[in-house]
């Protein structure tokens, strides 16, 4: 636990706990309807004492909307990335460890998915399934799977050629046990790094879907939806982009720092 006591670890933990608290308790704390109440006289009001972060094009308070959006954005991003790990990990692991025809079959499937841009893929899935939160999660999760599978496969391929894997095989360890005991722990650092990066992209992917009307449905709020809405008014009301943008940036920063520290903690060499 000593590792957490580095500056990096502390910043990461503080940021993430703050964001988690906001996501869990934020919607209960803010006055009901505060985030959706429109005030047409105060449209695009700059930050002031009445509206700390300013208001958007419909005069809704940005502070409350960001707080309300935290839960939606994180719920979608975290679930989607978890889903892509759950799908991509076995795919990449089996592909990289066994190689040969298994690798060929699985990777051609992954290549097919990779041939479509992730957002386009998510768009299609979302359009077919219909717009709601679960389907948005599924769409982003599936769209991100091939990237994760590719990276995991590469790592698994590298680890599968290590002498300790050959040593395990020569002492009668079964393939399943080799993957579980020897390959998985050694590819975990790469998975953690890729997952933290994916989280940032998932937040933005949700924004893209929302923009096209397939993600979060107004009047509900999400960071991505807010960033997309600010697009037309960047010149006259820049705060409408800066506020949710900052929320995304801080989350990603916190995740990356936490991910780095987590990776170090899991590595016995760094103790």
């Amino acid at each position: 636990m000593k590792r957490f006591k580095t500056t990096k670890g502390m910043i990461g933990i503080v940021l993430l706990s703050l964001i988690a608290l906001i996501a869990i308790f934020g919607p209960m704390v803010i006055p009901p309807d505060a985030a959706t109440a429109m005030d047409m006289r105060a449209r695009r009001a700059p930050p002031s004492l009445t509206h700390l972060f300013g208001t958007d094009q419909l005069g809704r308070d940005l502070l409350f909307r960001v707080i309300l959006g935290t839960r939606t954005s994180l719920e979608i991003a975290v679930s989607a990335v978890l889903m892509s790990v759950v799908l991509g990990l076995p795919l990449g692991l089996i592909s990289g460890y066994f190689g040969r025809w298994i690798d060929n079959v699985l990777m051609r499937f992954v290549d097919t998915l990779l041939a479509f841009p992730a957002l386009l893929l998510a768009l299609t899935i979302s359009a077919v399934l219909g717009p709601n939160i679960q389907n948005t999660i599924i769409a982003i999760g599936v769209a991100f799977t091939p990237y994760l599978a590719r990276i995991i496969r590469g790592e698994a391929l590298r680890v599968a050629q290590m002498p300790y894997v050959e040593a395990a095989r020569s002492s009668g360890t079964t393939d399943a046990m080799i993957m579980w005991r020897h390959v998985l722990p050694n590819i975990l650092p790469a998975v953690i790094v890729q997952a933290t990066i994916s989280l940032a992209f998932a937040i933005l992917a949700e924004a893209g879907l929302s923009f096209l009307g397939l993600g979060t449905q107004p009047p509900a709020a999400s960071w991505g939806l807010m960033i997309q809405a600010s697009r037309d008014q960047l010149d006259i009301a820049p705060w409408t982009a800066v506020v949710p943008g900052l929320a995304v940036a801080l989350t990603v920063l916190g995740l990356n720092m936490f991910g780095d520290v987590l990776r170090d903690i899991l590595d016995p060499r760094s103790k």
């Binding site: 290590m162 002498p163 300790y164 050959e166 040593a167 395990a168 095989r169 020569s170 002492s171 009668g172 360890t173 079964t174 046990m177 005991r181 020897h182 722990p185 050694n186 899991l266 590595d267 016995p268 060499r269 103790k271």
Partner: protein
């Protein structure tokens, strides 16, 4: 004669997160023109840091020279303190007045430039030669390092040359500007023994012809005995002992030097002894008491290999079809008795590792039979093969890569036992404890991770893991090659002790003839996938019959300065390629029995 180099109380520190760490301290020595000074030490002794300081290259690795003088006599006769010299002056000295040869001949050459370009760059920069003059000089240099077909080599890229030729090019580059001092940092460690002999002979000749001083860094006492005029022995960043080569080898003063020399197997010292013998290590009472010969038991066959052949496909073309085959193991047959050691020796690419892996079916052999204890390993299905693996275990070369960095040592040693369901719970714990005792590792290591151990300790863990399921056969693939010499001796003694106590059979795969002479009952010499000569150790070493065995034995450096062998230029026959077109059927191996049990491949 005036010294060309005098190093005076050198101290180098490295900045780390935990404050400065001393790399070398209080190092002083001198080198006279025409003299070879060998700096010898085990890993971490600071020998490379010393040589890099002399080039002021140590700064690029994060080191700082914090004290001492490094005087070097320049070409114009003035003395230069390298430790205080400005960067431009060092730029003119490096590669011009001091030449350097590195360990790895592949990475020392830039893969995207031709040999000519790499050789002429320095000449144009330092000597101001024109392109034509530089090219002419480059050709001269290649001729002086005796590369075959030098004109053609100039236009080639590094990957088109063999390892030995590349190292000759690196030497030619170092010699390009007629340096007064040549620094050679482990120049032959990555090379095969015959190529090593050629390179050592070449360095000797160039030194003689040009009157250069040579600073030779190595970990290998046998190379020191062959090359040095004077020797500096280093240990943990300090000089232990300095003296002429004869003094150091015949009358060492310091305990560390004595221990180091005791650990070096000397080719030829087993002459006339019928069985392997443990090394007499200083301070290792257990080994001294039990230095008795390791006796062979009543012959009882454990492993029988019949006509084993392994080929790897070479894929090519757009469709990745097999276009040729590497004949890694070609019609190999031998037997190994219970409680005995058969060593397979040969140079890199001779198929000795592939042979060991084919026997364990870690790679699938193309044809042939492998019988262990009356069971045909080749005929087993997957499940039976897994069970059969309890009888045959393997110890790998690299003790850093053969242990999983993420698992506790006790779990790694316990794994084979769990695999075969031999014990659980407290019984398992007790068994693992016993194994740690058996390989003489402290019990508190059980809960540690591999990175906390030294190379020798890790190799003990690997041996404990191999012993866990009471195997009959252990395939040791270069199991001691990556270890420092004193550690190597301890691990070898441990292996011999285990053989004596448990009746283990070893298939000992190695390139090191001196080690093999020490441990083996029988020796098989491999060349291009075949065993060219096999027989009792004494027969193969004392009266080698096959020309390849003879040249191999003549190339091994002997750890005795009175038996120098590399004065004249040497040229061994280069090893030909083991790649053959599809469908190529080589002739079967036929042997002549020269004396009972001693077989030589018919030419």
């Amino acid at each position: 004669m005036k010294d060309i180099v005098s190093v005076d109380h050198l101290r180098v520190e490295f900045a780390t997160d935990g404050g400065p760490v001393v790399g070398v301290e209080d190092v002083s020595f001198t080198i006279a023109p025409g003299e070879t000074l060998c700096v010898v030490g085990e890993s971490g002794s600071g020998k490379s840091v010393t040589s890099l300081s002399l080039m002021r290259l140590v700064e690029f690795g994060g080191g700082t020279i914090t004290a001492g003088r490094l005087n070097f006599e320049r070409a114009d006769g003035t003395m230069l303190d390298v430790a205080a010299a400005p960067a431009q002056v060092m730029g003119a000295v490096r590669g011009h007045e001091i030449g350097m040869i590195f360990q790895e001949p592949m990475t020392a050459l830039n893969p995207v430039f031709t040999i000519e370009r790499q050789l002429t760059d320095g000449l144009i920069l330092h000597k101001g030669l024109t392109q034509e003059a530089a090219s002419a000089r480059a050709l001269e240099l290649l001729q002086s390092v005796r590369i075959p077909e030098p004109e053609r080599r100039l236009k080639q890229y590094p990957h088109e040359l063999s390892g030995g030729m590349r190292q000759r090019v690196v030497i030619a580059m170092a010699m390009a500007c007629d340096p007064k001092l040549l620094i050679a940092d482990e120049p032959t460690t990555a090379l095969d023994v015959t190529i090593q002999a050629e390179i050592l002979a070449l360095i000797n000749r160039l030194k003689r012809e040009n009157g250069m001083a040579v600073l030779f860094i190595t970990h290998d006492m046998a190379v020191v005995a062959q090359m040095a005029d004077r020797v500096v022995v280093m240990y943990r960043g300090r000089i232990v002992e300095t003296g002429t080569v004869n003094q150091i080898f015949e009358n060492p003063k310091e305990d560390y030097t004595k221990a180091l020399l005791a650990a070096v197997p000397k080719l030829g010292e087993m002459k006339g002894k019928p069985a392997p013998e443990k090394m007499r290590l200083i301070g290792d009472e257990a080994a001294r008491a039990a230095a008795a010969p390791v006796k062979a038991r009543v012959p009882e066959v454990l492993l029988q290999v019949k006509n084993l052949t392994t080929r790897f496909p070479v894929k090519g073309g757009i469709l990745r079809r097999t276009v040729a085959q590497v004949h890694a193991v070609e019609d190999v047959s031998f037997t190994l008795n219970v409680g005995e050691t058969l060593a397979l020796v040969g140079e890199s690419g001779c198929g000795k590792s592939s042979c060991g892996r084919s026997i364990l079916r870690l790679i699938e052999p193309t044809s042939g039979e492998v019988w262990i204890g009356g069971r045909d390993i080749g005929a087993l299905n997957r499940a039976d093969l897994r069970r059969a693996r309890a009888d045959m275990q393997m110890v790998f070369q690299d003790p850093f890569a053969s242990l999983n960095p993420y698992r506790r040592l006790k779990d790694q040693v316990a794994e084979p036992i769990q695999n075969f369901g031999l014990a659980t719970g407290a019984a398992l714990e007790a068994l693992v404890l016993q194994l740690f005792d058996r390989v003489r590792l402290p019990r508190d290591f059980m809960n540690r991770y591999p990175h906390e151990l030294s190379g020798g300790q890790r190799q003990r863990v690997a041996i404990a893991r191999a012993l866990a399921v009471n195997p009959k056969l252990i395939v040791a693939d270069e199991a001691v090659s990556a270890l420092d010499v004193s550690v190597q001796a301890q691990v070898l003694n441990l292996m011999m002790e285990l053989q004596e106590d448990l009746g283990l059979s070893y298939l000992f795969i190695s390139h090191d003839m001196a080690v093999v002479e020490r441990v083996a009952h029988h020796v098989g010499v491999m060349y291009l996938g075949r065993i060219v000569e096999i027989g009792p150790r004494s027969a193969v070493f004392d009266s080698p019959r096959h020309p390849y065995t003879q040249s191999l034995l003549s190339a091994v450096p002997i750890a005795d300065p009175r038996q120098r062998r590399f004065a004249e230029d040497l040229a061994f026959k280069p090893i030909t390629s083991p790649i053959f077109p599809l469908g190529h059927q080589p002739a079967p191996s036929t042997y002549t029995e020269v004396t009972p049990g001693h077989f030589v491949l018919s030419l």
